[in-house]
Subunit: 432 residues, 2 copies
């Protein structure tokens, strides 16, 4: 190649950063063919220059001073894989202000400050790409932004957190309780020592906020996502779900009717024939529903150094192509659709409820009366003897009902003396 290579400033050299270095080096020839230009890493920001690295890098590339990248005129493009909100946000703002394009894998940052960074980028004619921030190696953001650009997306349902999916898969397969499955995930490195963000659904919520903003062309912020994690899920829930033909997954749902929108992350039941039902272990998948296209699904590794690095370097290739065309910053379509977050009377779903009740005559009649009075009809009822002799376990699946009706049912059940405990309740997604 006669031309000068594109010079990259890499911020972060952890597992994903090392993967990026490896891909750029190993695939130099392919990258040249795709972009017409070489790609070289000019500087790498690290916290500690002396630290031993898993990947062989020229030590002279390493720096602990961010300004060596941010103020470096030779650098065209920043790849940010250091994570965190601050100082990362300030760094990327500064980079964009200095006319440098940004590729990031940082879902926390994009979910919280994506709109801000994208608006600086649009003003400066810079690219910001963040494919790696959602569902690792699955090119889902590209599919939304380009593949379905002519369609109107009405719903996205995703398994976008590998840690919780691994835990739920373990629990379902082996009947192990949540805590042991979590411990196993931690042993295998699938869960962090503080697993709160994954387990309580915050990680998935960030990804859903990014997907919904991009897919619906609406300005959706993280605090508009309703979140519930999986720490309350029990092996009994999974067993009863299976008995009724369902699989329990932590799903993100972003749904839209006109300008009314709902974004939620919660454990939900999926019919066994649902495309997401077979997505097990640390894999991720996102179902996308469009008015014209109907149902589609994108499946792949949701995390891992090399899959994530693939997404990062593919974004980098797009930036380089845009640089050659002079088209940077044009891919950014600012949200243009009005939105209104749905109230509990506008969210419709089927629900699964599991109750422990006194094993005496007339209990089921009292329960079903509550449903009838709330205008909620039942699709499935399952009664089994409970653990202790005087108890029964009742599982109910409703037909489609509004969320506020369900809340009313739950409230009235709490007041019913024969109901010892509402063990669990979950949305049933799909299969309407």
């Amino acid at each position: 190649m006669a031309e000068e290579p594109i010079r990259v400033g890499l911020m972060g050299l952890g597992t994903v950063g090392s993967g990026v270095v490896r891909l750029i080096e190993d695939h130099q020839n392919d990258l040249c063919h795709q972009t017409g230009q070489g790609v070289s890493i000019e500087k790498i920001l690290v916290r500690d220059r002396q630290k031993e690295r898993k990947v062989a890098v020229d030590p002279s590339l390493l720096t602990e001073r961010p300004e060596e990248i941010l103020k470096n005129d030779r650098i065209d493009l920043i790849v940010e894989v250091m994570g965190g909100i601050e100082p990362t946000r300030s760094y990327l703002r500064e980079a964009l202000e200095n006319g440098k394009h940004v590729v990031t894998a940082n879902k926390d940052l994009m979910a919280l400050h994506g709109a801000e960074l994208l608006s600086v980028a649009a003003r400066k004619g810079c690219d910001v790409f963040y494919e790696a921030s959602v569902a690792g190696g699955i090119p889902i953001l590209r599919a939304l932004a380009e593949g379905f650009s002519s369609d109107r997306i009405t719903k996205m349902v995703g398994i976008v957190n590998g840690t919780t999916n691994y835990i739920l898969t373990e629990m379902a397969r082996k009947g192990t309780p949540f805590q042991s499955a979590l411990a196993r995930a931690q042993e295998l490195g699938y869960a962090e020592s503080d697993p709160t963000s994954d387990v309580e659904g915050m990680d998935a919520a960030r990804k859903m906020a990014i997907l919904a903003t991009l897919g619906f062309h609406m300005d959706l912020s993280l605090d508009e996502v309703t979140v519930r994690g999986i720490s309350g899920v029990t092996p009994e829930d999974l067993r009863f779900a299976a008995q009724l033909g369902y699989v329990l997954k932590l799903v993100g749902i972003a749904a839209r009717n006109g300008e009314k929108v709902e974004v939620v992350v919660e454990p939900a039941l999926l019919p066994q024939a649902h495309p997401l039902a077979a997505v097990d272990g640390v894999y991720n998948a996102v179902c996308v529903y469009g008015e014209a296209v109907g149902e589609t699904m994108f499946y792949g590794p949701g995390a891992g150094a090399m899959p994530t690095a693939t997404a990062v370097v593919s974004d980098l290739v797009t930036v380089v192509k845009n640089m050659r065309l002079g088209g940077n910053g044009r891919a950014i379509v600012a949200p243009y659709r009005e939105k209104r977050v749905k109230g509990a009377d506008e969210i419709f779903a089927k629900y699964f409820l599991r109750l422990r009740v006194e094993d005496e005559a007339g209990v089921l009649a009292k329960l079903t009366l509550i449903f009838a009075e709330a205008g909620v009809s039942l699709e499935k009822v399952l009664q089994e003897p409970g653990c202790s002799g005087d108890e029964a376990e009742i599982v109910l699946v409703t037909h489609t009902a509004s969320r506020d009706r369900l809340d009313e049912v739950l409230l009235r059940m709490e007041e019913l003396p024969a109901v010892r405990r509402i063990m669990s309740h979950y949305r049933v997604e799909g299969g309407e």
Copy 2:
């Protein structure tokens, strides 16, 4: 919008063409937001102007004279949904020579003459996009060209023909023979009155040639695809497959080790846990395996007017964006990797064989000796009484072996008097 809209010449107004008209009209506002420009249809080439149409179009747009589109200076972009090889190829060549961009849904044309059209386009600085030609509404070509641009794709396994997948799904669910399932598919409009191209695998072969060329960056022609259809598949094959934990699907496999490549379309067995095993009915799906990303899958409707129209209009959006950037023709990456089609001694797989043999002592010993002498080891053996009293049915699944070894085994079995008939043999894909 102050700017003039982009003017489109539409060639063909069948079901897909009508879908394109509908999408462009209904989504005008969204298209403006995405591209910064309106899109209007300037002329529509039809065979018969007087014919009744399913979609309301201004009759003055209709023309029976291709030159009104091809030589029309007001038209920037051709959308070709008329199908066929000639005169379509000449039309598109002429359009490109006249500097018009092309979006096409024509797999036959792209499989046979894609290289030619792309080279004219590259010379003239024009775009040619053909997402709709493979797997209808699934944005798989984009994923290959952009999402995995940084990775090296090693294998693609796809269910890329909805007609045959519907037939096999029917056969598996209801135990119906091929001919009745085909008749049912024809009744429902899923199969054409002459179903040869679908049923014998030619349609899938065209799509696999397109996928392999794009995904491997190799110049692969249609006659390098080995093809076998499903007309020989029996309900018994499906039943025995299910008994051994497999599902039978018509799959396209494109596999690459370095420059050695294999592209094949054939009925093959997939383990029930394979991501493609649950893809039923007219749906399509493609598994893509990359060195870095690992396993991914893309699933969605493989055909249908609106899904296909979505792919067409999304391509159109990309062309319009490129026009605004002045970047047309740059997306074309000419095949740059050397290739050599694998010989039978270089293709490795597991195989499933079903035989009808004389029900007498020592037959299994003779059979297994043949495998042993060919150096092929067995993973599973299943013997059942045959239909007539003196027969037995034997099903064998081998461990991984080269194709030429399997051919040797088949040849020697033919010569064995105790073997009455080799009922079927299939490759087993995945689950190694």
